[in-house]
Symmetry: C2
């Protein structure tokens, strides 16, 4: 499945990507309204919440039967959150939707709608804008989310993207960051650090490419980490799993920054401490392999990398029996009283205090 998606969807050609910055004489033959009409052709309105979608001053929605409505906004800037040298616009479109709905899943809610706005310099051609929205449509389809609006405008330089994701949940389903209690188990879905190692690989190949634009990137065999970076997914099934097992997490957030920052964010909101075990932090084999090649400790990639879009949550210790053989998430530690600190127990038994990544402190973070 993974390989298939990459072959079909990645179409990974670094040289092609640089055209975005070189083309000085572009135009939008369809005009703004024509372009919006073209984009809206690919938009779906399958959720009953969507009454009127793209095509007027605003979208019209009906949440009267939908319990609580969850709203989250993100903004992404070229050169900070993405690099068009190696990020095909279709992937970028896919990824910003994932980043948006990830915040909805982080509340234990279900995404239903999204708006995606784009400010592009006039170096970007109409075909590229449509390519971007193809990726948006693909992610919306995958996660049953309606594209209900957005904006399309010019920028002086570079691309800015803004996303507002809207979801629904019953009040008693909602999970905030603030509910963790001592002895709760700390869990993460999937595996971590892959997106970060994919980024390192792409950055390395970009450097080689920049010094010799004829060189083809060395990417074969790195499918998994490339997919983690260029076509991330959300653990959408977790919500159903909780329902089936009759579990309600006590706190939850998504792992869009590094695991360290996210754990601290849960601990801060819950006013708790924690103990994490290094050896339990899930890292995929391909991630570890790449980390070794770069001389990076894979755990550092998991703790300080970003963009994994997995979920971090806590559940009551008494729920352990229900979850112990699951294959969706790992228990990586437990919640402590605040005065016990926020620590990682390393494999050698040493204890390290959890710190937010330097990047996050300066809010230069990815996502």
């Amino acid at each position: 499945m993974q390989g298939k998606i990459i072959n079909y969807f990645l179409n990974f050609k670094i040289p092609k990507m640089t055209q975005y910055a070189e083309n000085e004489n572009t135009s939008i033959p369809l005009g703004k309204e024509g372009l919006i009409a073209k984009i809206s052709e690919g938009a779906r309105s399958l959720n009953s919440e969507t009454v009127f979608s793209i095509g007027d001053d605003a979208a019209v929605c009906d949440f009267s039967q939908s319990g609580k409505t969850i709203v989250s906004s993100d903004i992404f800037a070229e050169g900070i959150h993405f690099d068009l040298t190696y990020t095909p616009l279709k992937h970028l479109g896919y990824k910003v939707v994932i980043a948006g709905i990830s915040d909805i899943y982080a509340m234990n809610a279900k995404p239903v709608q999204i708006t995606v706005s784009l400010a592009v310099s006039n170096k970007v051609m109409q075909a590229h804008i449509l390519e971007f929205y193809e990726g948006v449509h693909a992610a919306c389809k995958e996660y049953n989310t309606d594209l209900i609006g957005g904006d399309l405008t010019t920028s002086k330089k570079g691309i800015s993207i803004a996303v507002t994701a809207i979801g629904r949940a019953q009040e008693d389903e909602l999970v905030y960051r603030s509910g963790a209690k001592p002895t709760d188990l700390i869990c993460v879905t999937g595996d971590l650090g892959g997106a970060y190692m994919g980024l390192q690989l792409l950055e390395r190949e970009k450097t080689i490419f920049n010094s010799n634009p004829e060189a083809q990137p060395e990417l074969s065999g790195y499918d998994y980490i490339l997919k983690r970076q260029l076509k991330p997914e959300c653990p959408a099934d977790l919500r159903d799993y909780f329902k089936k097992k009759d579990i309600k997490p006590t706190s939850m957030t998504d792992i869009s920054n590094g695991l360290a920052s996210e754990i601290l964010s849960l601990c801060n909101a819950s006013k708790m401490g924690c103990e994490i075990f290094q050896e339990r932090i899930p890292v995929a084999e391909d991630t570890a392999k790449m980390a070794k090649e770069f001389n990076i400790d894979p755990v550092i990639a998991a703790l300080n990398g970003g963009e994994d879009y997995e979920l971090l949550f806590t559940i009551k210790l008494s729920d352990y029996e229900k979850i112990k053989n699951n294959d969706m998430f790992s228990v990586i530690g437990s919640v402590n009283a605040l005065d016990k600190g926020r620590n990682i127990v390393m494999k050698d038994g040493s204890i390290i205090t959890l710190e937010p990544s330097v990047n996050n402190q300066n809010f230069q973070n990815v996502q």
Copy 2:
């Protein structure tokens, strides 16, 4: 009132503004989370729809008793939509909220919530970010709208701002662009072209300032058009007026681009033609005076300028008796069958075909 607002709020000092681009060694002492906490102190949650505001992965809202929910997103880029040389950040914050909720009023709905996201280069200081959100809070307060979220991140260069406004309306109140019928009266609130002439004035003073940074701008006596450009407002009372008079517009949109583009947009959506009378297009005295100084026909400023944030709507001819002495809006023409074209009757009796402004065709438009 107008003069008072300017004295209190504008604080118009061009030299001060250029500091944004000159300061290379800025920092965010509060950190991202501290800054968000500081911003959220100024945020209000007065509408019953807001259950949980800033501080988690997403906001939680309750629209179960609110009829239909209206959603609109906008994105703004430095150098295209605003120029920090002469736009104080507080004003910018105010203005992007107005631009956002203007789309909600354009559906004949009431704004209730907004998210405002900001991507700023590290040349922008913490104090400037807080200033921007002061303006956001001021507009939210003025229009009884809750700031429920947003994003704060870095950009490579310049500022990008994204806004998602959320409103409510009963289904039978909603007005789309598409309902205009022949003989309907075409109306606009307030007056037009003022924001555009304010922009021309500021651009002129910027040129003088750039050639001689010691020169103080010549802005006295131009309060009205400066306010139109730097602190626009929405005709929020129109909705109540319609209710009181038992009028339902047949179509409506906001005038964020020039009047010409917006009329064409209504006509296209409604598949109609129209006849507009030049002499009925409302232009304020100060706007006309400035236009004369610039050798611009004031009607051109109204037709092709932008950012007036007035409302353009059509009502049934049979409602004319109800509205004829109103002081909120002007009747500027009427709807025709499609085959009669979209025309302006000039003062001298000549007829001109309505065209979208060149800017809008290339979507370089302001808003």
